[in-house]
């Protein structure tokens, strides 16, 4: 074929040389990308030779296509952006003579052969199309309307659309349009639209409802969802998260039972959709949304001081740098041994009428005594066995009681009960002194008997070894004793008076109570599960009563719980209580009530020594502990003659003067609106919180004078080095657990302060105000 055209050209050139006519090139049109087309130049000139070019480039190039000397145009492999090119033939003898044609380079032409089905009812429809050269950019055009199209393969498309009722009974032309540069459109096939079909089936009768419909979780948190399924007996649902069956570690997982566990990191977006789909009808489903947030205030990892500091929060009035070093050097057990062996810091009795001196000395001792563990345990015991300066207003009426608690802190609980029961101080506070055997129709004073049982030994209800209440067949708690028992104990404890010559002596606090058989009731007494024979003397009945109470199975869990609450945490697990309780029952050498062993069990238990704070862990610091530990942490002191008792009374904790025999706060107090125990929260309201904060500020500003001092120089020295300052404060007060977000907040606040002192004060003050510092954890 090429030869024939060439011959023609040559012939024409030969025959037309004298006519000097124009060149004509045949022919314009489309060339599919990558294919070729033979062009022909009619040259009525002589010589008739021509030069071919594309877009002015002789012979063309790979972008616009090439053309051979004989006019064979080869389209490029890729469609150029300007896909119409000009191919020109120019006379070699007469360069002014030329002619060009436009050639359009196209995609491979799309072809439509058929649709399936060939007819659709008016209304929504879906069709499949067969043809060739379909691409992802192919669009099905139904009449003049582009339909949502899905590319299945180069020879198959699917599309959905809606045929208006007006098209019923007509044929609608369907084409496929391949868009883009060099795109093509297929020829049309006819699709017949029939009358509207039967109405769609009613929605499936199966319905699913998920509860709760919307929740917020922190990372790693869990939420149990329930799915109610109606309309089928198969109530099985399949759970998915963001469409992923069972979820995954990115969006959270969900169990077959609907327990959703949030991912460890906040996903993007932070709200995920939990869906329950009916197994009986997969078109029935319901969703819940879960917003996931970071635990942004979560503790930092802690430093190497954390373990020692936590021990000292529990076993002392908070850590000092020196105490931390000591614990780290010798370990928990050896440190406890060392503390057990330390000589008792004496508690002196100033006599006279000034209780303020006793209160001042008390605060000084808590902050500075080397035998910190004894101070801490004695304070815990003072919260169980209460004598208050509210009633016992003079030093003689109180100090010997403090000495008894201090002396017995590591002794035996039975011995403590014996000494406290006959102390003149308790004798006044709870009226055992001069409680005489009653006359006919009368009753003995029940005050000490009642509190001895309710508050000092066994409590109101029968306990399991883990501290939980025993219940009867109706599920009601079983009382440990009755009013009759109170009266019987009251009778057993008659006959005690203050020191002096008479059977009933005036108040005298120079020594313990004395027995007077004249005033002792000698009848037989019956308790719960025990009795005392008639005719016993005052001392024998006291001993018999205390022996019965001390042997009661409640004492172990009762006292152990109270010590754990006071030293370690407000919400111990029953297992923790049970472990300590068993030590109370038997110290390993067959001894019951060994407080040294009990204290060791409380403090060395894995639950106490777990340095990873979680959930409900910890204990709110009471006012005295909060302030004393702050002073200790910052290398300060409380002077022996301080006048700070009034400050604490404003905060609901007048030193040594709890308002009643129930102490400053009840061990049963629960944080409002929660099920969490939080005894110390009973005296921590907004006013008290602000006053504690003001006391921190007063201390940091040296406004408390020599009463309360701290050394903030080490922090002031770091004031121009923000990270170092924050590190130091974190180390001193939070032992490296300050969250990153809090560090950031502190940094901003510190930077706004005008001098080094204000910067250091700001860092310490704001940290002291944080809940992380308020809660020993």
């Amino acid at each position: 074929m090429t030869t024939r055209f060439l011959a023609l050209v040559v012939a024409a050139a030969t025959t037309s040389a004298t006519h000097a006519q124009n060149i004509t090139v045949y022919s314009s049109g489309n060339v599919t990308v990558g294919t070729s087309r033979q062009l022909t130049a009619y040259v009525p000139l002589s010589p008739s030779t021509v030069t071919w070019s594309v877009n002015g480039v002789t012979g063309g190039n790979s972008t616009v296509g090439t053309v051979s000397a004989s006019g064979l145009y080869q389209a490029p492999g890729v469609i150029p952006a300007a896909n119409t090119v000009s191919v020109r033939a120019t006379s070699t003898a007469f360069p002014a003579k030329s002619h060009a044609v436009n050639v359009t380079i196209t995609q491979p032409p799309v072809q439509l052969w058929s649709t399936s089905p060939r007819s659709v009812p008016a209304g929504p429809f879906a069709i499949s199309l067969n043809g060739s050269n379909f691409t992802a950019a192919s669009i099905v055009r139904f009449g003049g309307v582009n339909l949502p199209t899905t590319f299945v393969s180069p020879t198959r498309l699917t599309a959905t659309g809606t045929a208006p009722p007006a098209q019923a009974g007509t044929n609608v032309l369907v084409r496929v349009v391949n868009g883009g540069v060099g795109g093509t459109t297929s020829s049309a096939v006819q699709l017949t639209v029939t009358a509207a079909g039967p109405p769609p089936p009613p929605p499936p009768p199966v319905t699913v409802a998920v509860l709760p419909a919307a929740v917020s979780l922190t990372v790693g948190g869990t939420q149990s969802f329930t799915a109610g399924v109606a309309g089928t007996t198969n109530t099985t649902v399949n759970w998915s998260v963001n469409g992923i069956a069972g979820g995954n570690t990115t969006v959270g997982t969900i169990s077959a039972g609907g327990l959703y566990t949030a991912p460890a990191a906040v996903p993007t977006p932070a709200i995920v959709t939990v869906r329950a789909t009916s197994a009986a009808n997969t078109s029935a489903s319901s969703t819940a949304s879960v917003a996931i947030a970071a635990i942004d205030g979560g503790p930092g990892a802690g430093t190497g001081n954390l373990a020692a500091a936590r021990l000292l929060e529990q076993a002392a009035f908070g850590p000092t740098p020196a105490a931390i070093a000591r614990v780290k050097a010798i370990g928990v057990d050896a440190w406890l041994d060392e503390q057990f062996a330390l000589p008792e810091t004496p508690i002196s009795n100033p006599g006279g009428m000034a209780m303020s001196a006793v209160q001042a000395a008390h605060l000084h001792r808590l902050a500075t005594a080397p035998d910190q563990l004894r101070q801490r345990v004695a304070s815990a015991l003072a919260g169980i066995i209460v004598v208050s300066a509210n009633k016992n207003i003079y030093p003689d009426e109180l100090v010997p009681y403090l000495q008894i608690l201090s002396r017995h802190a590591f002794g035996n609980y039975r011995a403590l009960l014996g000494e406290i029961s006959t102390s003149a101080q308790m004798g006044k506070y709870l009226d055992l002194a001069n409680s005489n055997k009653p006359g006919p129709g009368g009753a003995a004073n029940e005050n000490y008997a009642r509190e001895l049982m309710q508050l000092f030994t066994i409590g109101l209800y029968a306990l399991n070894p883990d501290g939980s209440r025993q219940v009867d067949a109706q599920g009601l708690p079983i009382r440990a004793y009755t009013q009759h028992t109170v009266q019987q104990v009251a009778l057993a404890l008659t006959g005690w008076t203050y020191q002096g010559p008479a059977n009933n002596n005036w108040e005298n606090f120079s020594g313990p109570l004395q027995a007077r058989e004249f005033n002792h009731d000698t009848s037989a007494k019956t308790f719960v599960g025990a009795s005392l024979p008639a005719g016993q003397n005052t001392v024998a009945d006291m001993e018999g009563t205390l022996n019965w109470l001390f042997a009661h199975p409640n004492v172990g869990p009762f006292v152990s719980s109270r010590l754990i609450l006071a030293l370690v945490k407000s919400n111990p697990t029953p297992a923790y209580v049970a472990r300590v309780s068993s030590t109370f029952d038997n110290n390993g050498a067959g001894v019951r009530g060994d407080l040294k062993a009990v204290v060791r069990a409380v403090l060395s238990d894995p639950e106490a020594r777990n340095d990873t704070a979680t959930g409900n862990t910890g204990r709110l610091k009471d006012a005295i502990y909060h302030i004393v530990s702050f002073v200790r942490a910052l290398g300060g002191s409380i002077s022996p003659a301080n006048q700070q008792a009034w400050q604490f009374s404003q905060m609901g904790q007048t030193p040594l003067a709890p308002p009643s025999v129930f102490g400053y706060y009840s061990p049963l107090f629960r944080i409002p609106r929660t099920t969490l125990a939080g005894p110390e929260f009973q005296i921590y309201g907004p006013t008290e919180a602000v006053l504690r904060g003001n006391m921190f500020w007063s201390i940091l500003s040296s406004n408390a004078g020599s009463d309360l001092t701290v050394d903030i120089a080490p922090f002031t020295a770091l004031a121009e080095n923000l990270p170092a300052l924050i590190d130091a404060v974190d180390q001193a007060l939070l032992y490296g657990r300050m969250p990153a977000a809090m560090r950031q907040s502190l940094a901003t606040a510190i930077a706004a302060q005008y001098d080094a002192r204000a910067k250091a004060q700001t860092a310490l003050y704001l940290t002291a105000l944080s809940g992380l510092y308020a809660v020993q954890h």
Binding site: A214, L217, T218, G221, V266, A293, A294, D296, G297, G298, N390, K391, D431, P438, G439, G441, A443, N447, S570, T617, G618, R619, L620, S649, G652, P659, S660, S666, I671, P672, R673, T674, L676, G678, F681, Q682, Y684, G685, P686, T687, A689, V690, G693, N694, F696, W697, L700, A740, S745, A749, A751, A752, Q753, Y754, Q761, T762, G771, L772, A774, V775
Partner: protein, 455 residues
């Protein structure tokens, strides 16, 4: 890091959290007692205000019988303490049946309110286990309150509303427990002491909240120079309290301090709208002013029921009683009169009831220039809801060694129990019958649960 833009958001978030279940729907989370209580929210406002007279007020010189025989018995028993004396005159009042009595002239500021029907009194009320006669007392044949005549014990027992002083809760706190549903969604403290922490306001559920008169809970660390430094500290604290630690106790502690910040915001705004009523600058005047200011916030807080505790000391008048008591009564009288006028000013005079209480009365028989610890005592009640101008209860026989005397010194056995007195006000306040035994455990031992002095 998720920093909630406001406390509301913080708590709304925490409410759903399984890690932390400590917070409420809106501000003042910890003080809120909103929960699934059967009562519907109240539409009206009511407040009970206790003025506690620490030390044991001598009620015998608060209200003096003026009728011939009773006045003669009074004079015979009181001896040198009998009124009028050179300090205290008697302001005449009469019961509805015309029986004349005299009010200590220390109460001059309140005296006109008797005739206006807004002031009433109750005679010889005190702690009892059950009705008790002199014979029963002497034979100890009925249960008796423990530690009678002991300040510390009776102060506890009178606030506890329990003759044994046990239980660790106060009767106003239990009233607040029983009426917490009436406050619906409001989250302001329902039981407030303006006299330090008070057992009186502690419930089993409701926590006693103390507010210091004149203290708007501003933090000292936020009064520094320059203002930008303070602002930065405040901002940081807000953030620190808002972070979610995932630790429930930490969160609860943060909520308390956040509540302090919010209360500070509420209380700081008070001084901007002072009362036209001038309060005396006494301790009790300042306390009652603080109570009035909190009542003034009721629209902002949405509170419907609140109980308040005020206290004034110095009533343990073993000697030099005359002037001392007159002066203390004057302070109370002027304070309460101003308070009542402030409630009129606020339009809540009919919705606020105040009353006095004291740990015990005193002996009729003097000891030198004073008197000793007694038992039954007279008290006054004030407010538009009080059926005023009447002396309620049974006026006791004032004869030494008489039928109401425990012995021979005029330590009078109460003829009305605290339970009855408190329950009458509790009923008005909204405690339903079913809840009453939990508030006043011994009420069932007495014939009358409502003494009729409240509307």
């Amino acid at each position: 890091m998720m920093k909630s833009p406001s406390a509301l958001t913080r708590r709304a978030f925490l409410r759903h959290s399984t890690l932390v279940a400590t917070a409420g729907a809106t501000g003042l989370a910890r003080l809120s007692q909103v929960n699934a209580h059967a009562q519907a929210a109240a539409t009206d406002y009511k407040a009970l205000v206790c003025v506690f007279l620490l030390g044991g007020n001598d009620g015998h010189n608060l209200i003096v019988p003026l009728n011939g025989a009773e006045n003669a018995a009074f004079r015979a028993a009181r001896g040198s303490l009998a009124l009028p004396d050179q300090t205290a005159q008697l302001l005449e009042i009469s019961a509805r049946n015309g029986t004349p009595y005299g009010l200590n002239s220390g109460l001059a500021a309140l005296h006109p309110l008797w005739a206006q029907g807004r002031l009433a009194a109750i005679a010889n009320v005190g702690l009892l286990v059950r009705p008790t006669t002199r014979a029963q007392y002497l034979a100890a044949s009925v249960g008796l309150p423990s530690n009678l005549f002991s300040h510390s014990d009776q102060t506890i027992s009178m606030q506890a509303g329990d003759p044994f002083g046990s239980g660790g809760t106060g009767w106003a706190g239990r009233i607040a427990d029983a009426t917490r549903g009436l406050n619906a969604a409001s989250t302001f403290p329902p039981a407030i002491s303006v006299a330090g922490s008070a057992l009186f306001c502690s419930g089993n559920i409701v926590q006693s909240t103390s507010l210091l008169p004149g203290n708007n809970l501003s933090a000292d660390g936020f009064a520094t120079w320059p203002a930008t430094a303070t602002a930065a500290r405040k901002q940081a604290l807000q953030e620190i309290l808002t972070f979610n630690s995932g630790l429930a106790m930490v969160q609860a502690a943060n909520d308390v301090r956040a509540d302090g910040l919010e209360l500070n915001g509420l209380l700081s705004g008070l001084s901007a709208a002072p009362f036209a009523t001038a309060f005396p600058g006494t301790s009790i005047g300042n306390q009652l002013k603080q109570v009035a200011q909190v009542i003034q916030l009721r629209g902002a807080t949405g509170m419907k029921r609140q109980v308040f505790f005020c206290a004034i000391g110095g009533f343990d008048t073993h000697s030099a009683q005359s002037w001392a008591q007159w002066d203390l009564l004057r302070q109370i009288s002027e304070g309460l009169a101003a308070f009542h006028h402030a409630t009129i000013e606020m339009g809540v005079a009919d919705q606020v009831t105040s009353f006095t209480a004291s740990e015990f009365g005193r002996t009729l028989q003097p000891s030198g220039s004073g008197s000793d610890h007694g038992w039954g005592n007279h008290q006054i009640m004030l407010g538009g809801a009080v059926r005023g101008g009447e002396l309620y209860g049974t006026f006791p026989n004032l004869s030494l060694g008489g039928p109401d005397d425990t012995g021979s010194r005029g330590v009078l056995i109460p003829t009305t129990s605290l339970d009855q007195f408190g329950a009458t006000m509790a009923r008005w306040f909204g405690v339903d019958t079913a809840s009453m035994p939990a508030v006043f455990p011994n009420l069932a031992n007495f014939a009358t649960a409502d003494l009729g002095f409240m509307i």
